[in-house]
Structure formats: C-alpha cells, structure tokens
C-alpha cells in the first residue's frame, strides 16, 4: 500500500523549473531518504508534499487521497526542520501542545499525547524550559516531538541533523531510526549527508537537478550505482574513477587506463563490455587491497602520497595510472608517505560505466 504518491510533479519558480515531472511512490511504513547536493530540489519536493508550496503541475496523494491542494494541517503530516523552528517564547510543553490547542483537541488528550511524546523522546525533564535553554540536540528532539504529538501518518524531515555536531548527529540518527522502528510511520527524510542516508533509509532517492537519479535500497545504491553521478556522490571518500577503454585479451577482459591494465574479467556484467568501448571504471577505496610492494605485477604498484589515519581506519592517497586515488585500510596498518605499495582489486564489487551515457554497464 502506498502512503505517499507523487505524480508528474512539476514546480517552477518563475522561469526556473526546480522539479520536472517527478514521480515517486512511497510505501506505508517506509523510511525514504531524499539525498542530493545543495540546491537540487530536495526541500522543494518535501515542501510540496507538505503543502507548503503550491505545485505547478501534477498531483500528490497521501494515503490514496488527493491532497494536492489541501492545507498542510489537513494532510496528516508532521514536519521537522533543520533550524528546529521552535517557537522561542514558548516552553517545550507549549511548543508541543500549541498545534493541538489551536485544533481544539481536548486538554486531557493533549496532555496524554505530550506526555507520550516526551517519554518517547526522553525530554520529560525539559518540558518547562524555553528552547533557548536547550542544547542543539534537545531542541531537535523537541522539534521531532512536535510532529509526534500530531499523530500523523507521514513524517517529513528536512535536514533535521545538519545543524548539529558530528557526535550528536550520530546519536540522534540512532534515535530517529529507533523511532521509526517503534512507530512504523512513513518517513521522508531530506539530507545531503550520505551517512545519514545510508544508515537510515529503507530506500534512497538520489536527486540531481530536480530529477531522481536512482531510487533503491542503500546497498544497491552503494554497491551498484546506476550512473556515474550516483557512484561519485555516494561514498566518502569518493569512488575512484579510471577512464579507459575495454580490451579483450587472453580470454580475459581488461580496462586499459593510461598504460595500466585492470583485469575486469571478474566483473559480473562483463558480457556488456564491448572491446574498444570507452568506459569509466569505478573502485571504492575499501575494495582495494594494499600490500607492501614486492616483486609482483609492476603495473599495480603505487607510492603513498598522504596518509590519513582516522582511528578505526586509515586512508591512503596514492597515485596510480597518473591519477590520485584513495584506499581505505584498517586503522592499525600504517604506511609512511613515500612507501611503495602493491595494490589488488576486487572486481566483483567494482562498477563500470559507459563513458558516453555515464550509465552503469
């Protein structure tokens, strides 16, 4: 059963088309993340669903009801904003109950719902405080609470965590995930942080320029990106790309890059590779194995330029086939810059894209 459906949605600001005939179906109870870089139209789409922006064309259905022209409050949605958007002069309690009071919900019911939301979010001790007296994380919790009390079908989050520091962000991420698991509502979550997208989403919609580039579950997005944009966008550090040409040799298939040959015989969709075809080979940093250089295949030797120890992991920047690439290894393994290393690749999890269409082969 779909919970939210977007049909041929278009939206223009004056002459600028921000969303262009966009379609999206979100299942009941699903956690959908809209991921994309700044300005790609994520917030715009979310605001359309919330009813905060008048669409130019198309329809929006929530629970199979056409709500395209309904008021936000009648759509059964709750929304959480990046800047929290708490009412600064009201106590936390008042912030939570304000909407209900305006809707003339009986006081007893209000108290019940506020108490429940406060309990779920563990903000009971804060109820009497003003937003200014809360920390960022607490504020964001209250903002979520405000959506929670409204007992809605669909939660909309617009970059709810991006104003928080890394630590808090990872804590609240878990909390939101827990919340979703216990409430089982539909949630639509906008972010440009891929970690958030990967960890939270049931499905991720990667957007670019108002168009959804790929809509799939996180593992598919990560491991089998549809196109070059998605491949480059997801993963930090980015997937390493090598532009080259397909060559068949000795029964194997190779991608020839600047004098370096990558053996892609193990590539699952190897059949789709035409010799001579210009392709882009994508290798994630963690899919590269590093060993002390020995007398092995000379082609896959590289020198460590920079080492970035990150605690649990260690990131090496090396030069291969004339270009810089990154490799991720365990935190304990250290290579000083200048060290010679030998690389080997797991082509089973590589990605190859057609250089012209930029689509995955």
């Amino acid at each position: 059963m779909t919970s939210v459906s977007v049909r041929d949605l278009s939206l223009n600001f004056g002459a600028v088309t921000v969303l262009d005939r966009l379609n999206l179906d979100i299942n009941h109870g699903e956690f959908l993340v809209l991921l994309g870089s700044s300005g790609c139209g994520k917030s715009t789409l979310l605001n359309c669903i919330a009813g905060l922006l008048d669409v130019s064309e198309g329809q929006i259905f929530i629970k199979d009801r056409n709500v395209t022209w309904e008021e936000p409050k009648d759509r059964g949605i709750g929304m959480v904003f990046q800047s929290y958007a708490l009412y600064p002069q009201m106590s936390v309690e008042k912030n939570l109950s304000f909407g209900l009071q305006v809707a003339r919900v009986p006081q007893a019911e209000i108290d019940k719902r506020v108490a429940r939301a406060a309990e779920i979010l563990q903000i009971q001790p804060l109820l009497k405080r003003k937003p200014a007296e809360l920390s960022g994380g607490q504020r964001q919790r209250v903002a979520i609470g405000r959506a929670l009390v409204r007992d809605v079908d669909v939660f909309l989050f617009d970059e709810p965590l991006s104003n928080l520091d890394a630590k808090l962000r990872s804590e609240l991420r878990v909390e939101i995930k827990r919340l979703h698991q216990s409430l089982k509502n539909t949630m639509i979550y906008v972010t440009h942080d891929q970690i958030e997208a990967l960890t939270l989403a049931d499905r991720i919609a990667v957007m670019k320029g108002g168009v959804i580039q790929q809509l799939a579950d996180p593992m598919t997005i990560y491991n089998a990106p549809e196109n070059l944009f998605v491949a480059g966008f997801i993963g930090s550090p980015s997937m390493n790309f090598f532009r080259g040409e397909v060559a068949a040799r000795d029964g194997g298939t190779f991608v020839q890059v600047d004098g370096v040959a990558f053996d892609v015989t193990a590539y699952p969709a190897r059949a789709g590779l035409q010799p001579g075809q210009k392709v882009v080979l994508g290798l994630r940093p963690e899919h590269v194995k590093v060993d002390e250089a020995a007398a092995g295949d000379a082609a896959h030797q590289a020198v460590v330029d920079i080492e970035e120890p990150m605690g649990a992991d260690n990131l090496l920047w090396l030069t291969l086939a004339g270009q810089s690439m990154s490799v991720r290894i365990a935190g304990q393994r250290r290579y000083k810059p200048g060290t010679n290393v030998r690389l080997s690749f797991d082509m089973g999890v590589a990605s190859i894209f057609d250089a012209a269409s930029e689509n995955r082969i």
Binding site: N47, A50, G51, L52, E71, P72, K73, D74, I77, G78, M79, F81, Q82, S83, Y84, A85, L86, Y87, P88, Q89, M90, F98, G99, V102, A103, R146, A147, R150, D158
Partner: protein, 302 residues
C-alpha cells in the same frame, strides 16, 4: 631583541587601542559635556530664579511648586500622556499590520513602501501645515464631506479643545508610521522561514501565528522601534506649533512647548529648566533601566 623587552612587559593600559579612544573623543565629549554636563547644568539652574539670563540665585523648590500648580503644565502632561499612549499603540499596530501586509509577497511592494515612507521625508512643520489645512473646517475634509450632502458632518479636531490632540495624532501617524512599517518589515524579513512553515503544518491560523509566535520573536525590533517612537514623542514640538500653536486656548500644549515658551517667551529660564528637569526625570525613569540592560551590562555583541 627589541621585541624581547617590548613584548615582555604589559604595556600601559591607557595606550592600548589608542586610536579607538581618539576616535571616540567626539562621542565622549558629546556624552559628557553636552548630555551630562548640559543636563546637570539645567537641573542646577532649575533651582534658581533665573529669568532672561541664567544666574545662581537659589530659590529651592519654588519653580517646581509653581510648575505643578500651573494648569498649562498639567494640561501639557495630560496631552503628552494621551498623545504618547496612542501614538505608541497606533504606530506599533498600524506599522506592524502594514508590514505584515507588505510581507505577503505582494506585487508593487516598492511602490507601496515608497508611498508609506515618503511622509517621513517631510518635516513636522510641513506635516503640520498640510494637516492643519486638511483639517480646517472651512476648506478641508469637513467642507468636502458637507458639500457632498452630509451637511451635519462635523470634523474639526483642530478647533475643538476636547479632541485637538487627536487631530495632532492623525498628522503624527501619517508622518511616522511609514518608518515603523519599514522597521517592522525588516524584522519580519529576519524571521526564519521555517517558523512559518512549522506553524502552517501545525495548523495555526495566520493571525495567531503573528500574535503568538512572530511578535514575541521580534522583541529586538520592537525595542528599537519603541526607542525611536518614544524619543520622538517626548520631543514633540514642531508639529504642535505648526498645526495649532497649542490651541485652541491651551488645549494642545505639550511639555516641550512649555519649556520653550517659558524659557524664551516668558523669559523665565528657571521655570523652563524646572519643566525640562521634570521631563528628564520622566524620561530617565523609563529609559535608564532599559538602556542599562541593553547596552550597559556588558552583555553580548549584537
């Protein structure tokens, strides 16, 4: 070398930020000599019986006794209270409502804004003249309405002692609300757009959002506006002079005019100083605590 010696000792405190201190001399002089000095001087001489020229012959509280016995002073105070109260209320309300309307992403915003702001470019003298004329029963609004058939229509605030102060208020609002609108508009524009969205999602009606959410958030703007309006109210003078000269009779007298008239026309400086001192005291009671909180407490840098 030199750095060693120069750097090691804490330099003279007075010499730090020397340029800033030099640059602040005009401000310090104005504050100390003019505002503090002038005020002290005025207060001091309010206890004398100075006539045309200031002289130090003290008479105790005589001037104040006389001041508070003078019907004209009492009327002035009453007028100022009425004028101040309503001009505060109406400026803020009208200014805010207009700003709220202007904030609806309307077309021709620039035109409307210019129209509302232009009176602010005109002096009180000019404002007073124009409105004196518009409110003149022989030529102005009253005669127009009468000539349209409502012969019983009466609208002559400037010639009716009971409501003359409201006639002045009309002109004052015409002149000043544009600026208030601008200030409010600037304040509204500073409000996080997400707050609006949150309120809409919560289903709060627009007027309620304004009253319960937006206005409380605009505290800073309201304070600035209040300072600007209030400092104008205390000083109201030109407008009254241009519109009614305090008349009919003494019905539209205001304290500033009392001060001026007694200092210069009546050549009784002592009385004028006493009246100014009373004005200062009133101002101080309202302003000093606020100013201290706002600027003095060493709080925040904006």
């Amino acid at each position: 070398m030199t750095g060693q010696t120069r750097g090691s000792a804490r330099p003279n405190q007075w010499l730090r930020n020397l340029n800033a201190k030099i640059a602040s001399i005009p401000m310090i002089l104005t504050a100390v000599v003019i505002f503090v000095g002038g005020t002290a001087w005025t207060v001091l001489y309010s206890f004398t019986n100075s006539k045309l020229l200031p002289r130090l012959s003290f008479v105790g509280l005589d001037q104040y006794e006389r001041l508070w016995a003078a019907p004209r002073w009492l009327i002035s105070i009453e007028n100022l209270a009425i004028y101040g109260f309503f001009s505060l209320i109406f400026s803020l309300v009208i200014g805010f409502v207009l700003a709220a309307l202007m904030d609806q992403k309307i077309r021709f915003e620039n035109t409307f804004r210019t129209i509302m702001l232009y009176p602010f470019a005109l002096s009180f003298i000019v404002t007073g003249l124009v409105w004196q004329w518009l409110l003149n029963p022989q030529y102005g609004i009253q005669s127009i309405v009468r000539s349209l058939g409502w012969t019983n229509f009466n609208f002559d605030p400037l010639y009716n002692s009971d409501i003359v102060i409201y006639g002045i208020l009309i002109a004052a609002l015409w002149q000043g609300t544009g600026l208030v609108m601008c200030l409010m508009l600037a304040g509204l524009r500073g409000i996080d757009e997400d707050i609006w969205k949150a309120a809409r999602v919560d289903g709060i009606p627009m007027w309620k959002t304004y009253v319960l959410v937006i206005i409380p958030m605009m505290r800073g703007v309201f304070i600035t506006t209040l300072v600007i309006i209030a400092s104008g109210i205390v000083k109201v003078y030109d407008l009254v002079v241009a519109q009614t000269s305090g008349g009919p009779g003494i019905a539209s007298e205001v304290p500033a005019k009392y001060v001026y008239d007694y200092m210069f026309q009546a050549q009784n400086l002592g009385q004028g100083f006493a009246a100014s001192t009373m004005m200062l005291v009133t101002v101080a009671i309202i302003i000093v605590p606020w100013a201290y909180l706002e600027f003095g407490g060493g709080r925040k840098r904006a």
